[in-house]
């Protein structure tokens, strides 16, 4: 056998997004993917349509179609002026009607793309092409344990999820690394959350990934061989998505070396992912000759989307994460790392911008939006991120208000507060009970810088007395010795002394400058 010269991954993804509509895809029953109903008890979100009772008919949820159009437009897709509903027939206890209503040959959205930041040194972006995005209904859930754990004879069906609107996005096999899939998945989640179409809570299965993976092996004689495609089912975390792909990469190359099997029609297999052992495992050998007998659902009328309707939805599209990042970088001069962090969550981004708005409203003198943007970002990503980490909360959920953040920035602008004290003040304001102005709290807590000449002189004298060696060194021209003196002053003043004024005083007192 010829030796392997190189290998590379080829991955296409299917992503399922549960839409957070009020009611289900084809009934008025409440939707478990809507935040009002996350904790609904089993089988409480069920009506005759959801349970597939005799005589019950599906009626399309227009909101679900509109949310899907938003995603399609955000992914630069063509929105079909005519699409229809099809029945996908199979028996399973979590599928009440014995068929799933889906879209077979005429999906709502097709032929789009999403540009993701490139991993290469040159930067730029990579385009991932979107084949289609279609709308369907989710199935219920089957459990084989007693609720809360424990053995049970048979299985239990919970239909709360049955009928939840599900948008299935299918990409072209354009990914070449697990990293790209990860970046794409996160960006897609972020877009969907910015659009407000899904809560996007991974643990609740609001987004599920199914990568189709194989490896292109280049041999020494320049022949290229593709390994059989493996589809990994139902990955619902970014970590498992990466893990599964990385594991498959190695496994497929090893498997090929042993069995020499190449990609061929009918050789696609379905695998699962074991989160504990971090390995993929075979679920279904070969693509079973599963005949779903798709046919147009006669209970539903086709979806006809006029130009007017499409344009109206287009007009509601908010600024998307990528555009927002670009704006932060160009308008505020944020670094890519900062802009990424601030657009990771839609709510944080909104919070950040209201901090800037508050800042502009508060400071009437020389404030610029650019400066406000920079300083608010610094506050949120330093003091904010630190508290968020400590409290295991989101930066925008700490309890501090945008106006208080802006006030801290203004205190810093006027040198009224030092950086350490600003950090302390930020922490204090995270107590939602403290709704006073930042300056009031700073005064109460003695966090404002002291510039009173008499008081500063007193501290300087005390510091020289306490650190005679440092004073001597500094006087002799050793700048580094200032640190010890300033530290001493800060200790005595409990951080309130204005550091700049102290420096000046030291130079004046010891060097007569």
């Amino acid at each position: 056998m010829t030796d392997v010269r190189s290998t590379r991954l080829r991955i296409g993804m299917e992503i399922h997004v549960e839409l957070a509509t009020h009611s289900k895809m084809f009934s008025r029953s409440a939707n478990v993917a809507h935040s009002d109903h996350f904790e609904a008890s089993p089988n409480s979100l069920v009506d005759p349509v959801v349970a597939g009772l005799p005589g019950a008919l599906p009626v399309m949820n227009k909101q679900a179609v509109e949310l899907s159009m938003m995603v399609g437009l955000a992914l630069n897709c063509e929105i079909a002026s005519f699409s229809k509903w099809d029945r996908k027939n199979y028996f399973y206890p979590d599928l009440p009607k014995g068929y799933q209503i889906s879209q077979f040959d005429l999906p709502l959205c097709r032929d789009g793309y999403l540009d993701i930041p490139s991993e290469t040194a040159e930067g730029g972006s990579r385009r991932i092409n979107i084949l289609r995005a279609h709308l369907e209904e989710d199935a219920g859930k089957l459990s084989h344990d007693r609720p809360g754990g424990g053995f049970i004879e048979g299985s239990l069906v919970d239909l709360n999820r049955a009928g939840t609107p599900l948008l299935e996005i299918v990409t072209q096999p354009d990914f070449t690394t697990a990293q790209e899939c990860d970046v794409f998945a996160k960006e897609l989640r972020n877009i969907c959350r910015f659009l407000g179409v899904t809560e996007g809570i991974m643990q609740r299965g609001h987004m599920r990934f199914e990568p189709n993976i194989n490896v292109i092996i280049e041999l020494d004689d320049h022949r290229e061989i593709a390994t059989p495609i493996v589809e990994i089912k139902n990955l619902n975390s970014f970590k498992s998505l990466r893990g599964a792909i990385e594991h498959e990469y190695k496994r497929q190359v090893e498997a090929w070396k042993v069995d020499g099997l190449e990609h061929a029609s009918g050789r696609k297999s379905t695998w699962g992912w074991n989160d504990e052992k971090c390995i993929t495992f075979l679920q279904r050998e070969k693509e079973e000759a599963h005949d779903y007998r798709y046919f147009p659902d006669p209970d539903l009328v086709p979806v006809v989307i006029s130009d007017d309707w499409r344009l109206a939805i287009q007009a509601t599209l908010p600024e998307l994460p990528r555009q927002r990042r670009e704006r932060y970088e160009s308008d505020f001069g944020l670094s890519p790392v900062q802009s990424l962090a601030l657009t990771d969550e839609r709510d944080l981004s909104v919070f950040y911008e209201s901090c800037i708005d508050s800042y502009m409203a508060l400071d009437d003198s020389t404030a610029t939006r650019q400066h406000g943007g920079q300083q608010c970002a610094n506050q949120l990503l330093n003091a904010g991120a630190k508290r968020a980490n400590e409290l295991n909360r989101n930066i925008h959920d700490l309890g501090i208000t945008p106006s208080q953040v802006a006030q801290i920035v203004i205190l810093r602008d006027g040198d009224e507060i030092g950086s350490t004290a600003a950090d302390t003040l930020f922490g204090l304001l995270c107590d939602p009970a403290l709704d006073e102005e930042a300056k009031t709290i700073a005064q109460q807590e003695k966090l404002l810088q002291v510039r009173d000449e008499g008081q500063l002189d007193k501290w300087v004298e005390q510091a020289i007395e306490a650190q005679p060696q440092a004073a001597e060194d500094f006087a002799a021209g050793k700048d580094a010795a200032a640190g010890r003196l300033v530290g001493e002053i800060m200790k005595r003043s409990q951080g309130q002394a204005d550091a700049k004024a102290v420096q000046a005083k030291l130079r004046q007192r010891l060097r007569d400058e």
Binding site: V59, P96, D299
Partner: protein, 495 residues
């Protein structure tokens, strides 16, 4: 005392205080009690509820309220329509003890207008059949000759109206299931245009073909029920948002310049001779009324039965998948070691009758990969062509006249071959395929060998043109007296 077969007469008598709704209902329930043992129209009756509602009608009238245009009218509904009272079984063991939490929209609308459901009538299982013999829960006899079938699948409803147990009943029509039993039992049966009446609460058979419709003794009553049930429904998106006209307003006004289309082979050797004679007479009646008879050609009509059985079976195979023994309906007992597959296979094998299984298999087959294009897809294409054919024909005439069925009612157990049974639908399936409306009205009697069986005349009108179709039917009714005849009421003598 009013006729107990005219809705308007009954409801007027109740409104005018000549008779109370309770009296009307008690009479009705009494007739059912005395005759239905022989005829077997009813699957079950709701005596207590019906009398309770009748009492409410009387109370409201006493207070000066208007309980609606159908005040106190007892109606029977086919067993394949769900109600939140009693059982709704579609003639199937699968749903033998099924109780629905909601009521069909059409029934709700009738009861809102004052009508009262007295009971459910037998039908072929899931409406699959033309004789009501495929019912797992009972068999209905033809009131004109109890050795014969009442037709089907709405046989129980047809027999109940024909024998005057109730003044009106609801049927459903997927390929002729209202019109054919109406013809066999000598009553009026209207299949409205697809989308005219909500299908919500109708246990689905062929979703793109199914329609609920009235079965009555008179055209006028059919018109009244139709306009009460018609109109859009938020529970059925295929139910059309089309204006519902007042069908009674000009009902008795004969249509001037009526053009009636008659297929050129309307009289043919596949029909019973007596049916041919009666249809010829009907054509003459219209000609005498001044109608212009236009010969029409529907070359694709001969494919109707084939198209119908492919499409209806395909849709049925999906619609009946929900009966899996998991959530409701018949569930087989499993032996140790049997699994989920066995649960499905056994529950469905035990719950469904042979005809239903035959159609599920047929439907599954025509949708299967490799056969879809040859059968299902071609059937859809042919369906489109047939619709076009009808669109063209309806530009040249107001209605199409012909027989409802090729024969009068046939003896029970005679039709053993499923294919011959399917051919009973040769004239009726066209209206379901085309989505337009059709009505069967009494046109005469076939008399031979001591039997006297009614024969129906079918009129088909273009989509959503029921008002005119009913007027055309009414012209015939006014000119003839077939509808005045009733079978001798069979009573069980209780000593």
């Amino acid at each position: 005392m009013p006729d107990h077969d005219s809705i308007l007469a009954i409801t007027n008598a109740i409104r005018d205080g000549e008779q109370s709704a309770v009296e009307v209902m008690s009479d009705c329930l009494g007739r059912i009690k005395s005759s239905d043992q022989t005829l077997g129209c009813f699957r079950e009756t709701y005596e207590e509820r019906a009398l309770g509602l009748a009492r409410m009608i009387d109370d409201r009238l006493a207070k000066g309220d208007d309980p609606g245009p159908l005040s106190g009218i007892p109606i029977a509904v086919k067993d394949n329509m769900v109600t939140d009272f009693g059982r709704s079984s579609a003639g199937s063991r699968m749903l033998e003890d099924y109780h629905s939490p909601f009521t069909a929209t059409a029934i709700e609308k009738l009861e809102l207008a004052g009508a009262i459901v007295v009971g459910k009538t037998h039908c072929d299982e899931f409406a699959m059949g033309s004789s009501t013999e495929n019912c797992s829960l009972g068999t209905t006899k033809n009131p004109w000759d109890t050795r014969c079938v009442p037709g089907g699948s709405s046989g129980g409803s047809a027999a109940a109206v024909a024998s005057q147990l109730v003044p009106a009943a609801l049927g459903s029509d997927t390929g002729g299931s209202i019109r054919q039993p109406a013809s066999f039992c000598g009553i009026v049966g209207l299949k409205p245009s697809y989308g005219r009446i909500s299908r919500s609460g109708l246990i689905a058979f062929g979703s793109s073909l199914d329609q609920i419709g009235p079965m009555t003794k008179r055209v006028e009553d059919a018109a009244l029920l139709l306009q009460t049930m018609a109109g859009k429904d938020r529970r059925d998106s295929t139910c059309a948002d089309v204006h519902v006209p007042n069908c009674l307003e000009k009902l008795d006004e004969p249509l001037k310049d009526l053009k009636l289309g008659v297929p050129k082979d309307v009289i043919n050797e596949h029909n019973d001779d007596l049916v041919n004679t009666i249809i010829q007479e009907a054509i003459d009646v219209y000609r005498d009324l001044g109608a212009e008879i236009v010969e029409i050609d529907l070359p694709l009509a001969k494919y109707a039965v084939a198209i119908y059985y492919v499409i209806s079976a395909a849709e049925a195979s999906g619609n009946l998948a929900r009966y899996d023994g998991i959530r409701y309906g018949h569930r087989a007992d499993l032996k140790p070691g049997e699994d989920l597959f066995d649960l499905y296979a056994k529950s469905r094998s035990e719950g469904f009758g042979d005809e239903v299984k035959r159609r599920i298999m047929l439907g599954t087959f025509v949708l299967s990969s490799g056969y879809y294009d040859a059968y299902y897809k071609r059937a859809l294409q042919a369906r489109r062509l047939i619709k076009q054919e009808f669109d063209q024909v309806f530009e040249t005439c107001h209605a199409i006249l012909g027989p409802t069925a090729p024969t009068p009612a046939f003896p029970m157990d005679e039709m053993q071959d499923p294919l011959s049974m399917y051919l009973c639908d040769v004239y009726t399936t066209l209206a379901n395929i085309g989505g337009h409306c059709g009505i069967s009205i009494p046109a005469g009697f076939a008399q031979r060998e001591g039997r006297r069986l009614p024969v129906g005349l079918q009129l088909q009108g273009k989509g959503f043109d029921e008002a005119r179709l009913l007027r055309i039917a009414r012209m015939f009714e006014m000119a003839t007296s077939h509808h005045d005849q009733s079978p001798e009421l069979i009573t069980t003598n209780k000593s």
